[in-house]
């Protein structure tokens, strides 16, 4: 029997580092029971990151037990459906603040479409947002989904989020346990980029690993949207940690590698930027 404690997990570098340490500690553990304690706080959207890692342990025939001391954290993770994957009962989200934890096969695009419609587009209890902003958010999430689906080779894609009505913000994470940015980029370009360099290369407009079909716009569009929205974008892959926010661009290294890629966006819902009012383009002049 093994025990591991994750303490005060939010969206900061140290929180991801703790989850990497959990992965490193138990990635070669087989046929064991791993007790994981979530201490003090666990940010709901981070369930997508933890869920991916725990599935790798389960693939090694380990039994996972989650223990949550903080009643508020436990309540949130029960309401978003995460804990129902680990022996807890599913409860109704009576506060309407969670964006459901979803574990989905990359081929289940249609199901993902329904998820986005239910959780974002048609959801009445979302903070008040302009229609243009709502569309931008949904588009960004779709771009992330197809990016993970087309590039990562992952078995599952994990998503989760949380709505913060008072702070006027949404946190949303999409995770996969596939090849990661570094391997995908270096394999395609025959380069020797670090994980951080691979992430920076991938988010630049028009950079694509595809050889025959154009691409490389989705992540660039997301980056531009986050800049206009004054939100925050984090990309974690391999040992690279990339963050973009109003404070600028940060790149850090973790001591170990994460399995796969994790993209976390924090979006301001009180953003009234006129996304739809930029320069009009004549539809006869697009080809």
């Amino acid at each position: 029997m093994a025990t591991f404690t994750l303490t005060k997990i939010d969206n900061g570098y140290n929180s991801y580092k703790q989850i990497i340490e959990l992965y490193q500690t138990h990635k070669d553990t087989f046929f064991d029971t791993i007790d994981i304690h979530l201490d003090l706080w666990f940010g709901a959207n981070m369930a997508a990151v933890l869920g991916g890692v725990l599935d790798l342990f389960i693939d090694n025939m380990n039994t996972i037990n989650l223990f949550i001391e903080n009643s508020e954290t436990k309540n949130v993770l029960m309401r978003n459906g995460f804990l129902s994957h680990y022996g807890y009962e599913r409860v109704l989200d009576d506060r309407h603040s969670t964006i459901e934890y979803l574990k989905i096969k990359p081929t289940d695009g249609r199901f993902f479409n329904s998820y986005i419609i239910d959780e974002f587009i048609n959801r009445s209890e979302m903070p008040e947002m302009t229609g243009a902003l709502k569309k931008k958010i949904a588009e960004s999430i779709y771009e992330l989904f197809v990016n993970a689906k087309d590039h990562s080779g992952t078995k599952f894609i994990y998503t989760c989020g949380q709505v913060f009505p008072v702070k006027n913000k949404i946190e949303f994470t999409i995770a996969d346990t596939g090849k990661g940015f570094q391997r995908v980029v270096n394999d395609a370009l025959l380069t020797n980029f670090t994980a951080g360099q691979a992430i920076k290369w991938a988010i630049k407009d028009r950079n694509t690993t595809k050889n025959d079909i154009t691409g490389g716009i989705g992540l660039a569009i997301l980056h531009e949207f986050i800049k206009l929205n004054k939100g925050r974008l984090q990309i974690i892959s391999g040992n690279g940690f990339y963050e973009f926010s109003e404070e600028g661009q940060k790149l850090h290294k973790f001591p170990y590698d994460f399995p796969g890629s994790y993209i976390n966006v924090s979006i301001r819902t009180d953003d009234d930027s006129s996304y739809a009012l930029r320069e009009e383009i004549d539809s006869n002049d697009i080809f």
Binding site: V146, Q197, K200, N207, G215, G218, L251, K253, E280
Partner: protein
């Protein structure tokens, strides 16, 4: 030139044009029309969301097979949100540059990153 209208909503079967595979279906139909010398009108009526992944396969890759002039004279979009028009323009501009000099573009992008150093 005879025109054929392709209804994207019907081809995809959904208001959401998200996946590259759905774009591929549209691309195949456009090509069929082009081969027969038809003008293709893409109607986005009832479509609410379009990703660049969809547009890259539906439209972007046409620039691999046809000249800009041919595409300009044989393809048109109607019933489309102005924001999605911008998105198509971005995809077509990217495709023109991509098929013009893929190797050069790639080398430049690699040098740029190496020039920035590791920064971590």
């Amino acid at each position: 030139m005879e025109t054929i209208e392709l209804k994207i909503y019907n081809i995809v079967g959904n208001q959401l044009c998200i996946e590259a595979e759905d774009g591929q279906k549209v691309y195949t139909l456009i090509k069929k029309g082009f081969v027969e010398g038809k003008k293709i009108i893409l109607s986005f009526q009832n479509v609410s969301m379009i990703t660049t992944a969809f547009l890259n396969t539906a439209i972007g890759q046409l620039y691999r097979d046809y000249t800009e002039e041919k595409i300009k004279s044989s393809l048109e979009v109607v019933n489309i949100d102005p924001d999605d028009v911008r998105r198509i323009k971005r995809v077509t501009d990217t495709a023109k540059a991509f098929y013009k000099d893929r190797e050069g573009q790639l080398k430049k992008s690699i040098s740029e990153i190496l020039g920035e150093g590791d920064n971590d």
